[in-house]
C-alpha cells in the first residue's frame, strides 16, 4: 500500500506546526503530521530527536509552545491528560504497585465511572492472555506480563489513539522480537489506532503501516516501511534505517551490493576494489572492500557466493535500478 492511500483516510490525529521549546533547547520544531484512523503508525528516530516529547504533547503531559493538536476533529490544546481520549503505554509501564492486575486494569474504568466493569476487565485480561494472574501484584509479574497489563489497562478504555512510548525497550531481545508480532496482531484485532515511538528501525518496519522518521525535532520523512527504506528522502533517513554504502554520492544497501572476481556482463555498474575483510554472520557473510576512490563498500552475501580473502582484487557490482537517489 502506498502512503498516499493511507493518508487519504480521514485522520484521527493531526498535528499542525507543533513546536515545543524548553529554555535553551527546542525539542520539537514545528512538525505537522496526519495520522489515519485504525492504523499502526510509528515515530522513529534516535534518542533526543523529539519523538517522546511529541508523544507527551499528544497525551497532554506537556503543552506545545506553538501549533495545534487535533484529535478526532477536535482541538485538544489546553486539555488536561484526563480530558483527552488517548491513552499511554509507558516505557516503564508505570503500573500501580499497590494494585493487583485486575485493579490496575479497572483503574481507568472506575475513573470514568463506567458501570458493569467486570465484563470489560475480563475481556481485556483475556485479550492480553493474563487469565489466572488477575490477583497478582506488578512486583510478582515478569517483564512481558507487566507490559501486557499496561496494554490492557489502556486498551480497556478503548481510546481513540493508543500512544506507546518504546514499550519493548525494557524487554530482553528474544521476547522483544516475539512481542512485535503480538503487538501488531493485537492492533489489528482491536482496530484502535496505535502511535508507536521507537528508536529501533527494525521494530518500526516490522509493525508499522506508516513511519515518520524524526531527526533533531523535525520530521525528515513520512512513508510506508518500503518507502522510507528503499526511497529515503535524506541521507539521514537512509543511514538510520539501515547500513548504506555511499559510492560517488549514490546509496546502496549491502544486500543489493555484490562482489565478483570477474567483471560482469553489461547492464550492471561495476567498480574495481580490494577486499579488506570478511565477517561470517551465520546466515550471511559481510565482505568489505576498498574502492580506488578510498570509499568502502560492504556486500551482504549468501554463503553460496564462496569465500573472499583479504587483499584479493574484486569488482563491486550493482544494478543501477537499486540505487537510492535522494530527493
Amino acid at each position: 500500500m502506498l502512503l498516499a492511500n493511507i493518508l487519504s483516510v480521514d485522520p484521527i490525529l493531526e498535528l499542525r506546526d507543533v513546536a515545543k521549546h524548553y529554555p535553551g533547547h527546542a525539542a520539537v520544531q514545528g512538525i505537522s503530521l496526519r495520522i489515519p484512523k485504525g492504523g499502526f503508525f510509528s515515530l522513529l528516530g534516535p534518542s533526543g530527536c523529539g519523538k517522546t516529547t511529541t508523544l507527551r504533547l499528544i497525551a497532554g503531559f506537556e503543552e506545545p509552545t506553538a501549533g495545534q493538536i487535533w484529535l478526532n476533529r477536535e482541538l485538544v490544546n489546553g486539555r488536561r491528560p484526563y480530558q483527552r481520549d488517548v491513552s499511554t503505554v509507558f516505557q516503564s509501564y508505570a503500573l500501580f504497585p499497590h494494585l493487583t492486575v485486575r485493579e490496575n486494569i479497572e483503574f481507568g474504568l472506575k475513573e470514568h465511572k463506567i458501570p458493569n466493569r467486570a465484563g470489560r476487565v475480563d475481556a481485556a485480561i483475556a485479550l492480553v492472555q493474563l487469565a489466572g494472574k488477575e490477583g497478582r501484584y506488578p512486583a510478582q509479574l515478569s517483564g512481558g506480563e507487566r507490559q501486557r497489563v499496561a496494554l490492557a489497562r489502556s486498551l480497556v478504555l478503548e481510546p481513540e489513539v493508543l500512544l506507546l512510548d518504546e514499550p519493548l525497550a525494557a524487554l530482553d531481545p528474544q521476547l522483544r522480537k516475539q512481542m512485535r508480532g503480538e503487538l501488531k496482531e493485537l492492533q489489528q484485532r482491536v482496530g484502535i489506532t496505535f502511535l508507536f515511538v521507537t528508536h529501533d528501525q527494525e521494530e518500526a518496519m516490522s509493525m508499522s503501516d506508516a513511519i515518520a522518521v524524526m531527526h533533531q525535532g523535525k520530521i525528515e520523512q513520512v512513508g510506508t516501511p518500503e518507502e522510507v527504506y528503499l526511497r529515503p528522502a535524506s541521507r539521514f533517513v537512509a543511514n538510520f534505517l539501515g547500513a548504506v554504502n555511499w559510492i560517488d554520492g549514490v546509496g546502496l544497501r549491502p544486500e543489493i551490493t555484490r562482489m565478483a572476481r570477474e567483471a560482469p556482463a553489461d547492464g550492471l555498474v561495476t567498480r574495481p576494489a580490494t577486499v579488506t575483510r570478511t565477517v561470517f554472520l551465520g546466515n550471511c557473510i559481510h565482505v568489505t572492500a576498498r574502492l580506488e576512490s578510498g570509499e568502502e563498500a560492504v556486500a551482504q552475501l549468501g554463503r553460496d557466493h564462496g569465500t573472499f580473502q583479504a587483499g584479493e582484487p574484486v569488482h563491486v557490482v550493482w544494478n543501477r535500478a537499486d540505487e537510492m537517489r535522494l530527493s
Partner: protein, 276 residues
C-alpha cells in the same frame, strides 16, 4: 570471630543493662512498694498503686493524653503532607527546604516553647496586636488550655511527620501520577487513589514518630497547659515531686510505657503490612 563479636557487643550490652534494664527494674519495684512519708519507698509490697490507676481523675488525664496525641498526629499529617509533597516535587532548592524543616532543632525546645508563651499570653504579641488593631477589647485566652498544648505538640513534632513522608514521596515514580491522569483521574483522584496509598509506609512511620513522643510529652503541657491541661508526663512528675508518691508515679510510668508499646506494636503491624 565470635570472640571479637562478643567484645564488640559489650558496650551495647552494658548500656542496655545499666541504662535501660536496671532503671526499668527499679521503676517496676517502686511501683509495687508503699510510699514513704517524705518521698521514697518502703515496704510492704503491694499492688495498691495500680489499683488507683482507673480512678476517674487519673483516667481523665490518660484519656486527654491519648486524645491530644491523636489530634496532634492527625493535624501534623494534614499539615505535613502538602509540604512533603511540595518538597519532593521541587526541582530546585530541595535541600534548602529540607534544612528549613529541621532548622528549629538548632535551638532548644525549651526556648521555642517559651517563645510560644510570649506569643500567646494575655499581654503577648497576638493579643496585643489584635487589641491594638481594634479587633478585640479583652485578650483571648490563648494560653493554658488544651488548644495551647495541642498547638505546642503540633509545632514541636511536625518535622517528625514531614521527614518520613518526604522520604516515601521522594521515591514515588512521577510516571505513576502521569499514568493515573492519563487513565482519566482528576488531580484529587490521583492524590487519593495513587499518592496516599503509596505514601502509607511514610504515613505510619510519621504517625508513630509523632504520636509516641506526644503521649509522653512533659514540657509542652507543663508550660503551655500551665497545670490546667495536664498530660501523663506531668502526672508522673507531679507524683515524684509535689505529691511525694513515688510508687504511684512509678505505676503511671509503667502504664505509659505499656501504652506506648501497644501504640508502637499497632504502628509496626500497619507499616509492615504496607511494605508487603
Amino acid at each position: 570471630m565470635s570472640r571479637l563479636r562478643f567484645w564488640f557487643l559489650v558496650p551495647a550490652r552494658l548500656w542496655l543493662l545499666f541504662l535501660f534494664l536496671a532503671p526499668l527494674a527499679i521503676v517496676c519495684a517502686y511501683s509495687l512498694l508503699t510510699r514513704g512519708t517524705y518521698g521514697g519507698v518502703e515496704r510492704p509490697w503491694t499492688v495498691e498503686s495500680y489499683q488507683r490507676l482507673p480512678d476517674p481523675l487519673y483516667a481523665a488525664i490518660l484519656v486527654r493524653s491519648v486524645a491530644l496525641s491523636a489530634a496532634a498526629t492527625a493535624i501534623c499529617l494534614v499539615l505535613a503532607f502538602p509540604l512533603a509533597l511540595f518538597i519532593s516535587r521541587a526541582t530546585r532548592r530541595k535541600n534548602l527546604y529540607l534544612h528549613l524543616v529541621i532548622l528549629p532543632f538548632w535551638t532548644s525546645f525549651l526556648v521555642r516553647t517559651y517563645a510560644w508563651m510570649f506569643l500567646l499570653r494575655d499581654t503577648g504579641l497576638v493579643n496585643t496586636a489584635l487589641i491594638g488593631l481594634g479587633f478585640l477589647r479583652h485578650p483571648l485566652p490563648l494560653l493554658y488550655n488544651d488548644g495551647a498544648v495541642l498547638l505546642g505538640l503540633v509545632y514541636g513534632f511536625l518535622p517528625f511527620m514531614v521527614l518520613p513522608l518526604y522520604a516515601t514521596l521522594e521515591r514515588l515514580d512521577p510516571a505513576l501520577l502521569e499514568a493515573a491522569a492519563d487513565l482519566g483521574a482528576k488531580p484529587w483522584s490521583v492524590f487519593f487513589r495513587v499518592v496516599v496509598p503509596l505514601a502509607k509506609p511514610g504515613i505510619w512511620a510519621g504517625a508513630a514518630l509523632v504520636f509516641i513522643p506526644c503521649l509522653g510529652a512533659y514540657l509542652t503541657p507543663d508550660l503551655l497547659g500551665g497545670g490546667k491541661s495536664v498530660m501523663i508526663g506531668n502526672l508522673v512528675q507531679n507524683q515524684f515531686t509535689t505529691a511525694r508518691d513515688w510508687p504511684f508515679g512509678s505505676a503511671v510510668s509503667i502504664a505509659l510505657m505499656l501504652l506506648t508499646l501497644a501504640a508502637l506494636g499497632l504502628f509496626y503491624r500497619r507499616a509492615s503490612k504496607e511494605l508487603l
